[in-house]
């Protein structure tokens, strides 16, 4: 196996769970997310020669993952994405308060939150995946955290 393929395998072995959980926020369940992640890495293997090493490998694979997930969701009957990626906790019952708080965020902001906290990506990687600047990622996350604080603080006050 060549070096790129080995690096992709290493990434899969280290980060599979993060990819699956992150993608599940888009596909809606972990079963289909698993399928999407398998397909993502298969595509990454096939297209590995097009990865020029200018950014992080993980961000490159994440771009493939988001594209594959969007295709998966778009294939569902009656779904129109209009260019956005609708993300939500796939198992909201496990943390209903967090799920509600996240749902209150605008879709793009929500996606960045998932990439940060579910996928465990750095600001630079999120910027690369989403095609925005690192500053935008930082600002978006700050706004998202503030909104979450407002929602989750409410949760604590009611508890």
């Amino acid at each position: 196996m060549d070096e790129r393929a080995e690096a992709i395998e290493e990434l899969y072995r280290q980060r599979y769970g993060r990819f699956r959980d992150g993608v599940a926020t888009i596909t809606g369940d972990r079963e289909s997310a698993r399928d999407v992640v398998q397909e993502t890495f298969a595509r990454a293997l096939r297209k590995r020669r097009s990865f020029r090493g200018e950014g992080s490998l993980e961000a490159w694979v994440w771009r493939i993952a988001l594209r594959t997930a969007r295709e998966h969701v778009a294939r569902r009957p009656g779904v129109s994405l209009n260019g956005s990626v609708p993300a939500a906790l796939d198992e909201p019952h496990r943390d209903p308060a967090l799920a509600d708080a996240l749902q209150a965020l605008p879709p793009k902001r929500r996606l960045i939150v998932f990439l940060r906290y579910f996928a465990d990506l750095s600001y630079a990687q999120i910027a690369e995946v989403c095609g925005v600047s690192e500053g935008t990622v930082g600002a978006t996350l700050a706004q998202a955290r503030a909104a979450l604080e407002a929602e989750l603080g409410e949760e604590r006050r009611h508890a």
Binding site: R20, R30, E31, F41, A42, L45, R46, D95, F118
Partner: protein, 512 residues
Amino acid sequence: MPDEQLLKRRFASLAGPEDGDWQDVRWRARRRSGTVAIAATALLVALVAAGFAVGGRVIGLFEVKGSEVPLSSFTQNDRQLLESMCPDPEISHRSGGAPRVSCRSGEPTVRKIADDGVEVHWRVRYPWGLTCAASGPVGGRRNPAFGNAKITNLGCNAWAPGRKVVPTPQRPITVDASMGSTAHDPRIRLFRVTGLAGEGVVAVGLVSKAEPPLQARVRDNAYSFRSIPVRPWTAIAAYDAAGKEIYREPLRGVGAAARPVTTRAKVWSPGPPKRPSGPALQHASTRDAVVDVYRNGVVEVQFASTAGDAYRRLARTSRHSSDTADVGCLKVGFGAGRWEAIGGGSNAHVAPLMGARLGGGGGAHPIGGMPSPPFDVCEVSGTYGRYWNDEEGTRELVELPFTAIGRRYLDERATGRDLAYLVRSKKMHAIRLAIHRGGSAPSVDELVRIFGSRVIPLAGREDTAPNGEVGVWTDGKLIVASERTPAGRRLYVTIDALRIGPNNIRDLSFVY
């Protein structure tokens, strides 16, 4: 504003299970890039299959061909698995070398019989007549905790010598299915199905009532299903080149709710075997119990008193599960810093007199991995949690050594378990996880504070604590825990975040 780490922790608590499958990724990558090649192969297979049908060849026949594979090409885990079928294993010693297990009846011959690019299949034939089918993912399975393996499934025709382990006209496919349920969904689901396919079978399908079959092409006389969608599959079927179903067998239990595990499940045990009329071959006693081993493999353990500490603990701990305990015996060997142990046990209901028949059973097609008496050690093991530094300790409830090497093995195993339980403890796991996530290991003083007075700090990585105490050393990334056995040997284990690094306890206890 919520703390960054707090949010990460909250999300981390929602993480799902590690159910990745790299072999499936490789297969998908190859499947697309090799569409033309696969189409050509499928066409060829179809033509050949059609030729068989026209020529009156028998559908389902399986010709065992392929190359013989040397045992040395398999991993240590694989060889142990293959050796475990031996009816008369023994430990052999080479001067200055590590002991090794050999089989008096001879070694098996292994032939690679199919490889569909996902799963490799072998036929294993033993000199005493046993035949097995083995399979494993292409490239093997890597596991830093359990060790690497090429073979992940092994099925044999034990006790049914005429039964084929490869396809036949009556059963043109073999089926090796793994099923299970997850914590979030108690319904039984199929995780993986693989098998061999005989002549004329070009596809295999998973059948459900509501939807068309999910098909997998047969390649090189084998088929594999990976990433199987969750559906109530009812059967598996084989198809010929014309797409006609030529065979079907039910898949039982898929979609049904998994039976909850009850703590008071009834467990069968064979009951004490008949005591032979002649004298015992081996006899040993402790304060708690007496053991007699007979030449034909019958082992009897008689407790001195039901009021004794060992018996009361046995009765108490077995009540949590099934009122049974394991009566077992071992042969052990030591050399070049390594232990080897062969043996086994049998389930027996807890009573003042407990017995089992271990090995020596013979029969036309014996299986086992169980050596014949005399043994080095016999023991009675209870069912209880193995937690570090708990009141149950690291020894079995009754340990009866017959030889000096047996006594030393029990001593060293107890020390090895002490280290293994420490590594496996919840507190240590939290530390390992934190290091894995980029944190640094706690200082030795902090480790001592966390784990208590039996743990003492060590200045150097190679240092050892006095007997009965566990020494710890760390450089901020690695943690080395070490302990001295009663015979003075230094046992150690290196913790490299979630990975277990260099250690010399793996042959004594299970560490991960």
